[in-house]
Symmetry: C2
Subunit: 556 residues, 2 copies
């Protein structure tokens, strides 16, 4: 039976010329010409290399180095073993990050990419290998005793950057601390095999991509050349870009945010659910949704799991969360908007008061932040090395202000805002600054938002319907979480929808869900990429999305 779970990658998806930014045909042509030029240069280099290639067979130590054959990589335990298979037989690979001083004098087998390859002399070769952002220096010193031949050093030197290499060698501890590598040991090479070759010329160098702005400035001031890899080049060549230590760490931090989110909610009796992303209808109108044809029916992609997570509550799941893609077709050209991002959503029954949701937000995010600081020390350090930032200031018990209090603080600071309107980005930042000065926290909740700026399904306050049982949460002056108690009474929901100018008939199924008995409930939504961006004080959400999608980018 044909495998359902795996299918060939969509063909045109993989064509940058078809899929890349539509900005202009001219730009696309230019890019194609550039690639063509690169390809030709590479062919020339390859040809040049072939003429100077080594006659490996003349060397009696020929078994200690060379290219791993395709046959060997095809899992050929039963076939006649090649020299690589023989060399690694019975050995286990040590991860580069695990190479420490206590291993001195022992033999290890490691696999890594060629990070840099410095030619020194015909008798000495230095290669820095990198694995998951961790680096170690490998030294090949010509020696009859150690069976390290000059041919082996030649072989080492012709290894192109980013190629995968297996090295068998002896761990040594250098006298001086190493500044160019993450690991404080060296490997004295005894055997070296190339597992997979990278093209000799790459669209970007991982070393360049890993450089901090400070280092670039320093180099430039010292009159040295320093390549600044711009964001589009990075994103166009994301497979190379995500190899930098900072990026390796960003996606491990992202994973830990999700782990902590799940761990905390599961411990509180929440159930993880998956709601459909394909929805009937041609959307709520406007440019906000992606439309498509579903077997002849108009359909769209879910802009949030709002409807279905509320239905799960009506279906007695009581406390649910979802981690899944969220689609927004908005033309937002900002540092903080994407057309597809990962939503972290929560919906829960309320017993008495909407503060129960804020209690959850408080505990949940303090838990997430604390777990990041504890479990991602190395990763946060690696991010900070390229993009320096101060650790997030947050309180053990999260500060709560009402919207009116926020407006008052702004007023006292000379900023007038509409007490029944929304805050703009500027006022949000200003308020963040005032809160930081007064309360020493960069994480706080602002609640009792004006009803006028919240969706129709938000529960109004009992004492003043101009305000609502809703909240936003801010990190470093930017809104990151929205939440509220929902209207669970169909008659009130109909009334509210009407007041907001929505045709009640068009949302009848949604409203009907509440006619079969619905508990008081509420919830919240937050973007995974934003949590990582703001926790690490990064300046662009594209840095925290593995393969970002924005109004101009649909590839790779």
């Amino acid at each position: 039976m044909s495998s359902e779970s795996e299918i060939p990658p969509p063909s045109s998806t993989a064509t940058p010329d078809e899929s890349g930014e539509k900005v202009s045909k001219k730009a696309a042509k230019k890019e194609a010409a550039k690639l063509e030029k690169l390809r030709r240069r590479q062919e020339l280099e390859e040809a040049a290399k072939k003429t100077s290639s080594l006659s490996l067979e003349d060397d009696e130590t020929w078994k200690n180095y060379g290219d791993v054959t395709l046959n060997e990589l095809q899992s050929t335990a039963d076939l006649e073993a090649g020299k690589w298979i023989q060399a690694v037989e019975g050995k286990k690979w040590t991860d580069v990050c695990d190479l420490v001083e206590s291993m001195a004098d022992s033999e290890v087998l490691i696999r890594g990419r060629v990070h840099t390859n410095r030619p020194v002399s015909s008798k000495l070769g230095f290669v820095i290998l990198r694995e998951s952002g961790f680096t170690v220096q490998c030294v090949a010193n010509q020696s009859e005793e150690n069976k390290v031949s000059s041919n082996m050093i030649k072989f080492l030197k012709q290894l192109s950057r980013e190629s995968f290499v297996d090295v068998i060698g002896i761990v040594t501890v250098p006298k001086e601390p190493l500044t160019g590598t993450s690991q404080q040991v060296e490997i004295q090479v005894r055997k070296v095999y190339c597992v997979n070759k990278a093209l000799p010329i790459l669209p970007l160098s991982v070393e360049d991509a890993a450089r901090s702005e400070v280092d670039i400035e320093k180099s430039l001031q010292a009159g040295k050349p320093a390549v600044r890899v711009n964001q589009d080049t990075r994103l166009n060549n994301r497979v190379l870009d995500i190899r930098t230590p900072a990026n390796q760490s960003i996606f491990r931090i992202q994973c830990q945010v999700e782990n902590a989110f799940r761990e905390f909610l599961l411990s509180k009796g929440f159930v993880g659910i998956h709601t459909p992303k394909l929805m009937a209808g041609s959307s709520e109108g406007g440019s906000a949704v992606f439309r498509l044809d579903y077997k002849g029916q108009p359909a769209c992609l879910a802009q949030s799991p709002q409807l279905h997570k509320q239905m799960a509550i009506c279906g007695d799941l009581r406390r649910v969360f979802e981690v899944g893609p969220v689609f927004r077709a908005e033309d937002s050209f900002t540092h903080r908007h994407l057309c597809e991002f990962v939503g972290l959503d929560v919906e829960m029954e309320i017993r008495k008061h909407y503060s129960e949701i804020m209690d959850l937000v408080d505990e949940l995010f303090v838990f997430i932040f604390t777990s990041l600081n504890e479990k991602c020390k190395k990763e946060l350090e690696a991010v900070g090395k390229q993009y320096p930032f101060e650790p997030l200031k947050f309180l053990p018990k999260t500060l709560r202000l009402t919207f009116a209090e926020g407006v008052q603080m702004l007023k006292e600071a000379g900023v007038e805002v509409d007490p029944l309107g929304d805050l703009n980005t500027e006022s949000e930042r200003k308020l963040g600054q005032l809160v930081l000065e007064k309360y020493n926290t960069e994480f706080y909740i602002l609640h009792r938002y004006p009803s006028a700026v919240r969706p129709f399904y938000t529960m109004p306050c009992a004492d003043d319907a101009r305000y609502s049982n809703s909240f936003d949460v801010f990190i470093r002056g930017e809104e990151i979480i929205s939440g509220a108690q929902r209207v669970h009474i169909p008659e009130v929901l109909e009334k509210r929808a009407g007041e907001c100018g929505i045709d009640v008939k068009t949302i009848s199924t949604y409203i009907d869900s509440f006619r079969y008995g619905a508990p008081p409930h509420g919830g919240l939504g937050v973007g995974l990429e934003r949590v990582v961006m703001l926790f690490c004080a990064l300046n662009n959400i594209r840095k925290t999305s593995l393969f970002p999608r924005d109004p101009q980018r649909l590839a790779p």
Copy 2:
């Protein structure tokens, strides 16, 4: 600033008439007429009830029962407290599932839905409350001493099924074991408040929906009426349907499958990633993908994270997994196909041999199955009560057979299959039966599949290119997991694509990803809904999808 994370539900999504199955306009009209009739009946009932409504104010115990007001549910701590607020003040709710005999004589506050409401006499009322599928009997016995008035009993009796009710009462242990409820205690009602009313007539009864086929047959044989709720009625009214104990359990089991999947992989150094679901291009052709317009560019929904998870490996993340939606526009009208399902995907570097992936599959799924048996005892029991099944038979070390061995077993049993073709559903089932008889397991791996039936990016075997380093995994005779070593050498990938009749130019970006150094790697994909379906031996995948999407269903 407007909240990005929450948006109003798409309007037409919520309209069943627009969004429902397209089967025929006639059927839709019929459905609409049915709903209209139901609505009218309900209005009549409501009106009838009003005329016979209680004059609560005459009763001196009026504070002990009644409807909770909207104001009270709007989080009005600061307002004049209503009788419900006063009654629950300082009290904590006990979950129905936590009500046990050791609580006898203590007072509890519980919230639940009215599951059944049996009128007995004017002095006695019985209501069974249900919370998350757990049920408890509440008894109201007229008593001056306990301040239980006849009006309160009247109030209790008029509560419609599925309404949310708060009960304050005393726990007692009945002399005879209770067969009609999950909890073995009763609650002697002292106070009762209706938190939210359900319509008196519902599209389906949760009690009917929860009945097993065996019970229905028994009733019918005894000449009693027994409603059989068919699948479409269930799915059309999913909010009611998922309230049954079996469904409550199915989605908790589903959550635990995901938890165990993540827990195991995280413990092995895997990183959880999220790849984009929006892809450039108009697809690999055919009806297999959903197409859409992305800001003027042709785009499609990802049929699997195949391409991007391999790119994450090329980007040095080394071992990755993803849990996310997968979209298939195929017209598969079977018990096991959906147009949108949750994919559990894994991709990892290989050191030497593709058996490393099979080792992972083995350990991972034995871990998942064991954790389900340990952590979901109650849930598995609840599913089995409605849909009886035998526990899955699996070995501590998973059986591995080669495809050729499988073909041989079938041949010996008189079933001839093409040794270089694929198995059809029937041969798969037959082989499952033979394996069960010979090896006493319903979970096994079949590997070295013929290359002809695998995608072009599958690594061929070194010793015989007609076979490949790939595998399928079976549960109870049905394929559930597909996996393989991938071709990581661009030249070989180009050759394989050509042999499979694919235009290499159209997949150039995909192939280029491997030119910048790529490790040997492989992975697997599995559908979350299928794991739950086959572990519990359910007969339809729609039972394990919260809001299923198939060629005929895009709602609710």
